[in-house]
């Protein structure tokens, strides 16, 4: 109990100082958080989605309140590769934080080109967001195993960086899509992205979001995420980054027990800006009080009935 617990973890060979990572889209490129704490205290930073071209994103309103959560339809607003490479990347690299860059595209070729360019940077890992609608068929790349396999394999061919494939829960079987990612050479899967959803303003008879639909995040989706993490952990031999409604240290521990090697904090950090770094402290305290010497001892330690 006396000694400091070892919080380090690895995701497919990528060593992290601890398992707590702010989730993509909920941390920008880290600048706002950096005003309040040193980013290097985090396990890593999953930077906001990056596309080749600049994206203005969706018209507002972009957020709707939901029970134990929220919907967002930001529309992947980002400055595009050129401005990102010029303004954001150098600053992020200076922060000495493990940098996971999330990427999005309209076509497989978009993902490939982004990965190819990232290969020439000092980014630590690439996270591909497969919740984006595929321009070819309108469904998300992540909805079916074929789409996951196609994007993953194409990106894998152009990068040797750790490749995290972020899957959408809106699929018939998360095991099937995670297995497809593994087959195609992913190093890890990030589970889960938001669940497509709608909130209606009954007085105006309109969806609250200008985009009509948005992604549900927050505690509401936590039990779904936890089930998916454990389902994949039991069926697919690939490291997992757990995401979805994580708020407290007990939530972090639950995801680790279910099989996640690291976790990402999204919505909770919007409401409590220092929550990611606070959770690092809380996790150390929890491990100490529970006699856990290494946080990695928790990974997958869930005992099923």
């Amino acid at each position: 109990m006396g000694a400091n617990p070892d919080l380090t973890t690895t995701v497919a060979g990528l060593a992290l100082p601890n398992p707590i990572i702010p989730a993509s889209g909920c941390a920008g490129y880290g600048r706002e958080f950096a005003k309040h704490f040193e980013l290097r205290r985090l396990g890593g930073l999953a930077a906001k989605a990056l596309s080749l071209e600049p994206r203005r994103g969706n018209p507002p309103p972009r957020v709707a309140e939901a029970a134990a959560g929220m919907l967002n339809a930001v529309g992947l607003q980002n400055p595009g590769w050129d401005l990102w490479a010029h303004d954001e990347l150098p600053w992020m690299l200076e922060q000495d934080v493990i940098l996971i860059q999330n990427i999005v595209g309209h076509t497989v070729a978009d993902y490939v080109e982004l990965a190819r360019r990232l290969e020439g940077t000092a980014v630590d890992a690439i996270e591909i967001n497969l919740s984006c609608p595929n321009v070819a068929d309108g469904m998300s790349f992540g909805a079916e195993p074929d789409g996951v396999e196609a994007v993953t394999a194409a990106v894998r061919a152009v990068t040797r960086k750790p490749l995290w494939v972020k899957l959408t829960p809106q699929t018939a079987s998360i095991v099937a899509t995670a297995a497809a990612a593994a087959r195609a050479g992913a190093d890890a899967v990030s589970l889960i992205n938001t669940i497509p959803a709608m909130v209606i303003d009954v007085e105006r008879r309109r969806p609250v979001l200008r985009n009509n639909t948005g992604g549900l995040s927050g505690p509401a989706i936590r039990p779904v995420a936890l089930r998916m993490v454990n389902e994949v952990y039991r069926a697919v031999a690939i490291p997992i980054v757990g995401i979805g409604g994580i708020e407290t240290v007990e939530d972090v521990v639950a995801f680790l027990l279910a099989g996640a090697s690291a976790v990402q904090i999204g919505t909770a950090a919007l409401v409590h800006p220092t929550r990611p770094v606070d959770l690092v402290t809380d996790l150390a305290v929890w491990c100490r009080s529970h006699g856990v010497a290494r946080v990695t001892d928790l990974i997958g330690a869930l005992e099923l009935w």
Binding site: E32, F33, G57, P60, P61, R62, V74, R206, V271, T274
Partner: protein, 277 residues
């Protein structure tokens, strides 16, 4: 730039009824009180909704180390805040956003309507303290909704209260109120030295901005948009702002680049098509 903890625990010091519809909450927030500037806002947690609620800083009391916000019943979040009583605790983010840029002007005309009026008292008081001339035109739905009259009267050299239902100084909108301002007053400063600072419903702000532009006055507006975080990371609080050459524009963050924008930079959206305010 706030480099301390953004999230603070606030003790509720008072809950004061301002009108038939409005309540002012005084919160003990020493660090925020020390740092707050006119036009900034807070994000307040409540016991009913997952997300915090943005509210303009309506008053700062350095002696009591307190900050006050004022609000009128809307949905579940604001209703819960209105029920807080002395001794309750809530957590708050702030001060947030970029406030009014008033220091370079010789006169400030503050124009407010609806809950927008709460963003104006601290501006008028700061302008007065900086020996800037102040005028104020406020619109209320009806007389019973009039709030903070004493504070406005104390801080504004001229105060005109408008209501379309009558019973106040001007029967009509704030535009009618602006038109009723003494022309001599408006002519006292070079137009470029006059700042019109406006907060209220979007159509009102748009009309006031047009009125200011016709006269060559500078105009700033404080926008409202639905916000998840309030401190810049989520990009939900988008507002169209002119950028680059020609018709170029970009979505900026109401919570960081705003809530106060130069009116000339805003691309007003059609009803519901974009910024809600």
């Amino acid at each position: 730039m706030n480099t301390g903890r953004l999230e603070q625990t606030a003790l509720v010091l008072a809950n004061v009824r301002l009108s038939t519809a409005a309540v002012l909450l005084e919160l003990r927030l020493p660090e925020t009180a020390a740092a707050a500037r006119p036009g900034q806002f807070l994000m307040l947690a409540n016991r009913r909704t997952y997300l915090r609620r943005p509210l303009a800083i309506c008053a700062v009391d350095h002696d009591r180390r307190s900050v006050s916000v004022a609000m009128e019943a809307k949905g579940a979040g604001i209703r819960d805040l209105m029920n807080l009583v002395h001794g309750d605790e809530i957590t708050v983010l702030g001060p947030l956003g970029r406030g009014w840029r008033y220091t370079d002007y010789q006169a400030v005309i503050a124009v407010g309507g609806g809950t927008g009026v709460y963003a104006l008292p601290t501006l008028l008081e700061a302008a007065r303290a900086a020996r800037i001339a102040t005028a104020c035109v406020l619109g209320f739905r009806e007389r019973s909704r009039l709030v903070l009259e004493d504070r406005f009267r104390a801080a504004a050299d001229t105060l005109l209260l408008a209501s379309e239902k009558g019973g106040l100084d001007v029967a009509g909108t704030v535009l009618d109120g602006l038109r009723a301002l003494d022309p001599a007053l408006l002519g006292r400063h070079a137009p470029g030295q006059v700042l019109v600072a406006c907060c209220g419903p979007a159509p009102m702000m748009r009309a006031v901005a047009a009125w200011a532009a016709e006269r060559g006055f500078a105009c700033q507006v404080s926008l409202e948009e639905r916000m998840a975080c309030g401190f810049g990371v989520c990009r939900t609080c988008a507002c169209r702002v002119r950028a680059g050459a020609g018709d170029g524009w970009t979505y900026e963050r109401v919570c960081c680049e705003g809530p106060v924008f130069d009116a000339a930079d805003i691309i007003w959206e059609e009803d519901g098509d974009g910024c809600e305010s």
